[in-house]
C-alpha cells in the first residue's frame, strides 16, 4: 500500500512502483480530469502539480513521488491562483473542445504562482509543453495576461 496526498486528501493505493501517476489518478482513483494525450510527455494534457511544480503525470511513476503532495485539475480551484486562472479561462472563453485545458490550466497556474506578471516570452517558455489541437493559444495568452495575482 502506498499513501498519496491528492488535493489535500490521503488515498491508499495498491499499485506497482513503475505505474505512472496518470493511470493511478484516472483508473484507480477516478480523477478523470487529468487527461491522456500522448504518453510520452509531448502534449502536456496530463499535467499536475507535484510538490507545487508542474509535472507530466504520464512520466511520473509511483516510486518518484515520495511524500510530495499532488494537486490535480479537480483541486486547483481551491488554490488562490488556480481559481483565478479558471475564472480567466471562462471570462476569455478560451476553451473549445477542452481536452487539453486541464493541463493548460495546471501549467498556467504554476507559471503565475512563480511569476505574477509573466511576459509573452515567459508564457512561451512555460506553456510550450502544452499542445492545444483546437488552437486556443491566442486566448490562453490573453487569459494569462488578464489574471491579477
Amino acid at each position: 500500500m502506498r499513501k498519496l496526498t491528492i488535493n489535500g486528501q490521503v488515498h491508499d493505493v495498491d499499485v506497482p512502483d513503475d505505474m505512472p501517476l496518470l493511470w493511478v489518478l484516472r483508473d484507480v482513483l477516478g480523477l478523470t480530469g487529468t487527461k491522456y494525450g500522448c504518453g510520452i510527455a509531448q502534449c502536456g494534457a496530463c499535467t499536475v502539480h507535484l510538490g507545487g511544480v508542474a509535472v507530466r503525470s504520464c512520466q511520473t511513476t509511483m516510486d518518484m513521488i515520495d511524500d510530495m503532495p499532488i494537486t490535480t485539475i479537480e483541486g486547483i480551484g481551491d488554490t488562490p491562483i488556480g481559481v483565478k486562472v479558471q475564472a480567466a479561462w471562462l471570462d476569455k472563453e478560451v476553451v473549445q473542445c477542452g481536452y487539453c485545458q486541464s493541463g493548460q490550466i495546471m501549467s498556467a497556474t504554476a507559471l503565475l504562482t512563480e511569476n505574477p506578471k509573466p511576459t509573452d516570452t515567459d508564457i512561451d517558455d512555460a506553456m510550450a509543453g502544452n499542445i492545444c489541437r483546437c488552437g486556443t493559444y491566442v486566448r490562453i495568452r490573453e487569459a494569462i495576461h488578464s489574471v491579477n495575482v
Binding site: 483508473d27 485539475i73 476553451v95 481536452y99
Partner: protein, 715 residues
C-alpha cells in the same frame, strides 16, 4: 448544464413523431390529455424532436455533436431565441441515434461535419422553439379563458397583460401537451433578436475548466475493465505469432481477445492492459500491402494525373484561350496525407450483453455507431443504446466508425463493461488519412494581365465515394474540386477535371476543411503566381477579378486595410493573401511572416476578415477563425503522414508535430455585418491557412512553395 442520455433513457418515450425534424408536422398521441393526468407532475411537453419541458425543466435536444466548435451553445441560442427563454434556463442533451428526427438535411445523415450544422439548424431549430412557445402560450390563454394575442412571454414566463396574471412554462406544460402543433410558425424578424448575435457564454465550458466534463475516454461504469490494443501495422496484415499466456501473467490482466488483425488486453487499469500488450511478443504477417511506400504512391498519382479525368467544369475554350495568351503558366502542386490526431485518442466503452448492448463514445455519426455495434454483435440496432459523449476534438476522425466496429468485434464475447483506449501510437498509425492530392494547373493571361483561361486537374482519392456513395455521381466527387472549379472570381473560361485514384493499403477520410483546404492551397497559390508573373500586386489582381462579387470584395478590402497590406515590410518579412468562398462563408486571410535565413519560418500575424452571413454568436465565429487558422498553419508547416513497407512512419507528437504556443502568430478577426443566411465557420479558417502561408513565403523570399508541408521544402 450538459446532460447525457445515459441517465435519461425515458426521454421522448410515448411520443409519436411521424416525420423528420425538418417539418414540425408532429402530433401528440390522441390520449395525451389522459396520459398527462395519469402521471401528474411528471408529465412531459414534447412538441417536437428538439424541445422537452417536464419536471426537470426545459431541455433542448442537440441534433449535432459538440467537438469543441461551440454548436451546443449556438444551437441552444437558436431555439431559446424563439422559445423566449434565457440560456441559463435550459439544459442541453445529446440526441439519441434517430435518423428520422435528427438527420442533417445537408448531409442526409445524422452527422456533424462539413461546417453544415448552423446552416442546417438555422430554420428548423428556431421553428422548434417558436412552435413550442405558441403551444405554451395557447395553453395559458386557454386556462385563463383569454386571447393568446393578449399574452406575452419573457424568460419562460407567460404574462396576461390586462389581468396581470402569469404562469411559467413548467406550470403550463401539461396543458400545452394536449394542444395541437401549429401549422404556421412565424419567425422573428432579425431586428427583434435578443439572443442571436450576442456574445453568449458557452454552455459547455464551465465543466471543462475544473476537470468535471466527462468525455468518452472518461467513462466509468460499475464493474468496468480497461483495455488497450495492438493492430497490424500494415493494413491487411494479420497476427503471425502471439504469446497470450505472457500477457495473462501480467499482474492486473484479466482477458486477452483478438481478431485476425488486432488484439486487445483487458485489465484492471490502462497500465496493466498496456504492459499486457507489451508482453504479447507479437509478430505480424504484413500481407499484400507490405511494399507500399509514399514515393510509390506519388509516382502512381503522377502517372494517373497524365490522363484525362471526369470533366467537372468545361466552359469551352479554356485550353485554346491559354494557348493564345501572352503569359502562360503551368504548375504541379502536391498535398500530403494527413492525420486528424484529436487530442482525445480514439476510445469506446462497450457493455455487451446477450440481448442488448450499450455504447459510450464520442461520435460525429451516432446512427452509424449504433449500426456498427449491431452488425458486429448480431443484435438488432434498437437493442444498442448509444450514449454520445462530448469529444476532445474530432476534425473529421469521428465521422468514421471503424474503431467502434473494431471494439465491438474484439469485445463481442465479453459480458462486462470494457473501456477500450487506443494509445496515441495506435491512433495515429491506424488513422483514416486525409487524401494525398496531386494537382495540375495551368493559366493564361492576356497582355493587360487579365486571366483569360484556366485548367485544373485534381488527382486523388474520393472520400465521398466511400463515405456517401449516393453523392458520388457519374464519377464526380463534388468535394474533390470544391473551390477549384468554382471560385469567387470573374472567370468565364475554366476547364476542371477529376481523376479518381485510390492508393492501396490505406483508407482516406474527411479532414477539417475537406476539399476546400486542399484546393485553396493550390488555387490561391496559383492566383498569386498569376499576379507575380504579370507584375501585379496580389490583392489588386484579385480585386480586379471581383467585379460581380461584392461580398468577396468586401472581405478582401477589409483584411487588406486591417493588415496594412500596402505598408512597407521590414527586411525578411513577407505578406500573403488568401481569398475564398467556402462553406457558404466569405473569408480573406492575410498572413505576415518572417524568414530568417537558415531558420524556420516565423508566423507573426494573421488577419482574417469574415462574412458568414447572420452571426449567431460572434465570439464563437472569432474562436473558430482563430483556432481554424492555427490548425491549418501548423499542418502546412509541419505535417505529413508517410509510409514505408506499408506501415505509417509517424507515431506520436514527437514526429507528428503540432503547432505550439511559442510558434503561433497573433490572430485578428474582423466580422462583416450581414443579414444573409448563415454560412459555416468551423472549417473556413483551416482552409484559408496554407495559401496565405505559401504566398507570404514567396513575398519574403521569392521561393514558390508547391508542395506541403513546409518542413519538407525548407526556405
Amino acid at each position: 448544464m450538459i446532460e447525457n442520455l445515459v441517465s435519461r433513457r425515458n426521454f421522448l418515450r410515448g411520443t409519436a413523431l411521424a416525420t423528420a425534424g425538418l417539418v414540425l408536422a408532429v402530433q401528440l398521441p390522441g390520449n395525451a390529455r389522459r396520459a398527462s393526468a395519469a402521471v401528474g407532475e411528471q408529465s412531459k411537453f414534447i412538441p417536437n424532436a428538439f424541445v422537452k419541458i417536464d419536471g426537470d425543466g426545459i431541455t433542448l435536444i442537440m441534433p449535432h455533436t459538440e467537438v469543441g466548435q461551440g454548436i451546443y451553445t449556438s444551437s441552444a441560442m437558436l431555439m431559446a431565441e424563439e422559445l423566449e427563454v434565457d440560456l441559463d434556463q435550459v439544459r442541453v442533451e445529446a440526441a439519441p441515434p434517430d435518423l428520422k428526427k435528427y438527420m442533417d438535411p445537408i448531409l442526409f445523415d445524422q452527422a456533424t461535419g462539413g461546417s453544415t450544422s448552423t446552416q442546417s439548424d438555422w430554420v428548423r431549430l428556431r421553428e422548434a422553439g417558436a412552435s413550442a412557445r405558441i403551444m405554451l402560450v395557447a395553453a395559458a390563454a386557454a386556462l385563463w379563458g383569454v386571447s393568446a394575442d393578449d399574452c406575452k412571454v419573457e424568460k419562460g414566463v407567460i404574462y396576461h397583460g390586462p389581468s396581470g396574471r402569469s404562469l411559467s412554462y413548467l406550470e403550463v406544460a401539461p396543458e400545452a401537451a394536449t394542444r395541437e402543433v401549429p401549422k404556421e410558425v412565424p419567425l422573428k424578424d432579425p431586428s427583434q433578436f435578443k439572443l442571436i448575435g450576442t456574445r453568449a457564454k458557452r454552455l459547455d465550458t464551465p465543466a471543462k475548466v475544473n476537470g468535471s466534463m466527462v468525455y468518452g475516454i472518461d467513462t466509468r461504469l460499475p464493474g468496468m475493465a480497461y483495455a488497450t490494443l495492438a493492430i497490424a501495422p500494415v493494413k491487411g496484415g494479420r497476427i503471425a505469432s502471439i504469446n497470450e499466456a505472457a500477457a495473462r501473467a501480467v499482474k492486473g490482466v484479466r482477458d486477452v481477445v483478438r481478431t485476425d488483425d488486432s488484439v486487445a488486453v483487458i485489465g484492471e487499469h490502462m497500465w496493466a492492459a498496456k504492459l499486457g500488450v507489451d508482453a504479447l511478443e507479437l509478430s505480424w504477417e504484413s500481407g499484400p500491402n507490405a511494399s507500399i511506400s509514399t514515393n510509390a504512391i506519388i509516382d502512381d498519382m503522377h502517372e494517373a494525373s497524365l490522363k484525362p479525368g471526369v470533366v467537372v467544369r468545361d466552359d469551352n475554350g479554356a485550353e485554346e484561350a491559354i494557348r493564345k495568351a501572352k503569359t502562360k503558366l503551368d504548375a504541379v502542386y502536391r498535398s500530403p496525407f494527413l492525420s486528424h490526431s484529436p487530442l482525445e485518442p480514439m476510445n469506446c466503452t462497450l457493455h455487451i450483453e446477450d440481448d442488448r448492448a450499450e455504447l459510450w463514445v464520442g461520435t460525429q455519426v451516432p446512427v452509424r455507431a449504433q449500426k456498427a455495434v449491431a452488425e458486429a454483435t448480431g443484435l438488432p440496432p434498437e437493442k444498442v443504446t448509444v450514449n454520445n459523449q462530448l469529444m476532445g476534438g474530432a476534425f473529421g476522425r469521428r465521422l468514421d466508425i471503424d474503431t467502434i466496429e473494431q471494439a465491438a468485434k474484439l469485445l463481442q464475447k465479453i459480458r462486462y463493461p470494457v473501456k477500450l483506449v487506443w494509445t496515441r501510437e495506435q491512433d495515429l498509425t491506424h488513422d483514416f488519412f486525409r487524401p494525398y492530392y496531386y494537382d495540375r494547373v495551368s493559366a493564361g493571361l492576356d497582355d493587360t494581365g487579365r486571366l483569360v483561361g484556366r485548367t485544373h486537374r485534381v488527382t486523388g482519392s474520393s472520400v465521398m465515394a466511400r463515405w456517401a456513395p449516393p453523392a458520388f455521381k457519374n464519377g464526380i466527387d463534388p468535394d474533390s474540386l470544391d473551390c477549384a472549379a468554382e471560385t469567387p472570381y470573374d472567370e468565364t473560361s475554366v476547364f476542371a477535371d477529376y481523376v479518381r485514384h485510390e492508393p492501396e493499403g490505406l483508407t482516406t477520410a474527411w479532414w477539417r476543411g475537406v476539399g476546400a483546404t486542399h484546393n485553396l492551397f493550390v488555387m490561391e497559390s496559383f492566383v498569386d503566381e498569376m499576379a507575380h508573373a504579370t507584375e501585379q500586386d496580389p490583392v489588386d489582381f484579385r480585386r480586379k477579378m471581383l467585379t460581380r462579387n461584392p461580398r468577396a470584395l468586401a472581405v478582401l478590402e477589409l483584411a487588406a486595410e486591417k493588415a496594412g497590406w500596402n505598408d512597407k515590410l521590414p527586411e525578411g518579412h513577407g505578406r500573403g493573401v488568401n481569398l475564398q468562398f467556402a462553406f457558404n462563408t466569405y473569408l480573406a486571410h492575410i498572413l505576415e511572416i518572417e524568414v530568417v535565413p537558415g531558420k524556420q519560418v516565423k508566423l507573426l500575424r494573421s488577419v482574417l476578415a469574415v462574412d458568414c452571413g447572420i452571426v449567431i454568436n460572434p465570439d464563437t465565429v472569432r474562436a473558430q477563425m482563430e483556432g481554424g487558422v492555427l490548425f491549418g498553419l501548423g499542418t502546412a508547416m509541419f505535417n505529413e503522414v508517410t509510409f514505408t513497407g506499408g506501415a505509417v512512419d509517424q507515431s506520436n507528437f514527437d514526429n507528428y508535430r503540432i503547432l505550439r504556443i511559442n510558434e503561433a502568430p497573433k490572430v485578428e478577426v474582423y466580422q462583416v455585418k450581414s443579414l444573409e443566411k448563415p454560412g459555416g465557420v468551423g472549417e473556413a479558417g483551416t482552409a484559408a491557412a496554407a495559401g496565405a502561408l505559401a504566398n507570404a513565403i514567396f513575398s519574403a523570399t521569392g521561393k514558390r512553395i508547391r508542395s506541403l508541408p513546409l518542413s519538407q521544402a525548407p526556405v
